[in-house]
Symmetry: C2
Subunit: 457 residues, 2 copies
Amino acid sequence: MSTPQEYIEANKEKFIEELFELLRIPSVSTDSSKKQEIQKAANFLISQFENLELDTVKKFDTPGHPIVYAEHCPHEDRPTVLIYGHYDVQPSDPDELWDSPAFEPTVKNGLIYARGASDDKGQSFTHVKAIESFIKTGNELPVNIKFILEGEEEIGSPNLVPFLEEHEDLLACDMVLISDTAMFAEDQPSITYGLRGLAYMEVEVVGPNRDLHSGVYGGAVENPLNVLCEIIAKLKDENGVIQIPGFYDNVIPLTEADRTAFAQLPFDEEEYKNTLDIKEVHGEKGYSTLERASARPTLDVNGIWGGYQKEGAKTVLPSKGNAKISMRLVPDQDPKQIAGLFKKHVESLAPNTVKVTVTEHHGGHPSVTDLNFYGLKAGAKAFEEIYDKEVLFSREGGSIPIVADFKRVLGVESILMGFGLTSNAIHSPNENFAIKDFYRGIKTSARFLELLPEYSS
Amino acid sequence: MSTPQEYIEANKEKFIEELFELLRIPSVSTDSSKKQEIQKAANFLISQFENLELDTVKKFDTPGHPIVYAEHCPHEDRPTVLIYGHYDVQPSDPDELWDSPAFEPTVKNGLIYARGASDDKGQSFTHVKAIESFIKTGNELPVNIKFILEGEEEIGSPNLVPFLEEHEDLLACDMVLISDTAMFAEDQPSITYGLRGLAYMEVEVVGPNRDLHSGVYGGAVENPLNVLCEIIAKLKDENGVIQIPGFYDNVIPLTEADRTAFAQLPFDEEEYKNTLDIKEVHGEKGYSTLERASARPTLDVNGIWGGYQKEGAKTVLPSKGNAKISMRLVPDQDPKQIAGLFKKHVESLAPNTVKVTVTEHHGGHPSVTDLNFYGLKAGAKAFEEIYDKEVLFSREGGSIPIVADFKRVLGVESILMGFGLTSNAIHSPNENFAIKDFYRGIKTSARFLELLPEYSS
């Protein structure tokens, strides 16, 4: 009987082929025309679990995209790990900036290029293969496992929390394991213990009831694009401080200990700037780049559009302008409350020459995990054995709102065991995932499950 | 032998059919894929002139789109009128806002709906039909006429001024006649004696070298869309005063007489607001709506774009943002100088966290015509006979830069005899032109040519 690690070594090519099959499915959840592709991705995962002959394999329908559930619980007296991931992906546009097609995985210099390669198909698939390495070698699973893989993460998981609440007993567990974050640096195993929340808004400014000739009306009729820019400009001051009244009220200030920990993380600001081709970093005055990128709240325009956007010059005074604006939140900011403050403030900035509408997209709570949790310690040990390097514990700027929801509904901590890198270009053209990280991820996951019983006792 | 006016009455349906043929050609000059359509429109006009057996009919090639030239000069001792117009049109987008296809002329409630119906195919075609009304009835043309119809007005006439300069002798004339403006109100004949100039700029703000995840980088890397909005917001103050240093230096202030004339023009601000569905007008403090819309300079964002603009929420920190920004100018502002001041100021506003590029599209000089010119008086008389109403002399907010060029190169005044209405929605979806104005335009043009000899002596 071979060991799980031997099985992983022996099946590397098979694992890659299977991952590619999943990556070829354009399961873009923000695109309502891609419903069939979402189903296809869910069915692919179902067939993976069925092939492992787990105790339970089930596709739960929701008002949106389905949730794939699987469990295998051979032990009464050992921990239960709920493995969470998502099989939906971000849109691939702008497609013209991809060097290879977004949904045809292509390997170059040891990297798999494809939408979802890292976020989150590639990362979450590591755990499926880790489980396989026990089952297919006839080794007993060291702990109980449950899988919950959703298809709506990129649209804010609207149906996941209701699902958690409805299936609290089914999902009962001792911890959640998630691989949807990045390592701090290449070959530097990292566990993320803090995540930012999110409030995502859309602003529409409407002026005249039709596009006007800017010569005939310009100067006498308010231009909604100018107003939109003026409103956005007023949302932050010259020091990068967000000007929405009450915005910072519930922000827990960074402690001296927090700031010392940040200062000790390895970080080369020159390299950071060079990689992005920027002359200077920029952010809230009085904070370091790492603090700004992970432990302080933000406000970013994610998209803006209005008027004439093509070749040449069209002298139009447009009827309306739109912007998507999102804010990253930190403990204890509440996304609903922040969305309300944003709406109220933007409306108060709108002159009565235009109509301003503010709508809310999905949001999510920020979270911080207890550093003393035994699951974190087992995760760190597994990482260190496979990577042969000490783990860094860090906070990350992105949002995985479900972490706060797992805590609230199931009462458990999450272990964020990221195998990706910030250079993976997730949400961007040419998203990628290193083949070596995919393999090490599978190995780390398998080792973590083996180590967990001793850490729990 | 019938009179020109009788011929016009008898051929109304034929004229409409011919105009529709011209309107069906999508001769969009800003769209480089529409070159063949531009040629088609030019050829249509050539065949119109050939059918009238004018002395000279010629299509001049230019580095861009062709110039259609025709002349018929039977008199040694009478004035020569150079009739200028353009057969190119603005893009039709957003097409989904048109109630009928932009390039399939449709009549509804006495209005012809089509791109170019008013600007400028419909208006300039009136003069072709006026000439026809003399030639086809065997009546001698009362004056000498020359036509110059270009295909690049909507892209700033880049090849027209070189053409004027090169063909100064060919184009020698006593005045220019142009129908490319609007009447002050329905059934209110109007002659425009002032036009604004134009400087049209494009601004690109580039931040990081690729689209980034707004969670991972947000707060630490400057967002080019936020910067773009901040720059635009700084271009005007809260009183609508443009903040570019030196911008107002060459603006000739409105005199008391100017302001009294503006105040006496019939204008219903409530109706103006209701038609546009706006609660309040907005513009430079201390000026009336009519002054703001025609005799004061402006700054408008004509288009803006960047980042994610589709359905749903994408958490991207975009690599770049763009805006098209134009300024309407008044005497004696110089478009090249203003473009330079704009570029310098915008560059000075750019933080060193981004790269800002400012480029210049076409511009044009503002102009004011001498109110004592005999051509204006003959035009006013013709208008009054056909419309049975006294003419208003007004200044208009739009730009016809060529008017300043005619003055400079050929040394002559222009008569701006507009048959359109501001409600024609030129440059907008559902552009239209009243059938009755098309007919009255032809009649007014013919009558003007008949009256001119007596006014010139």
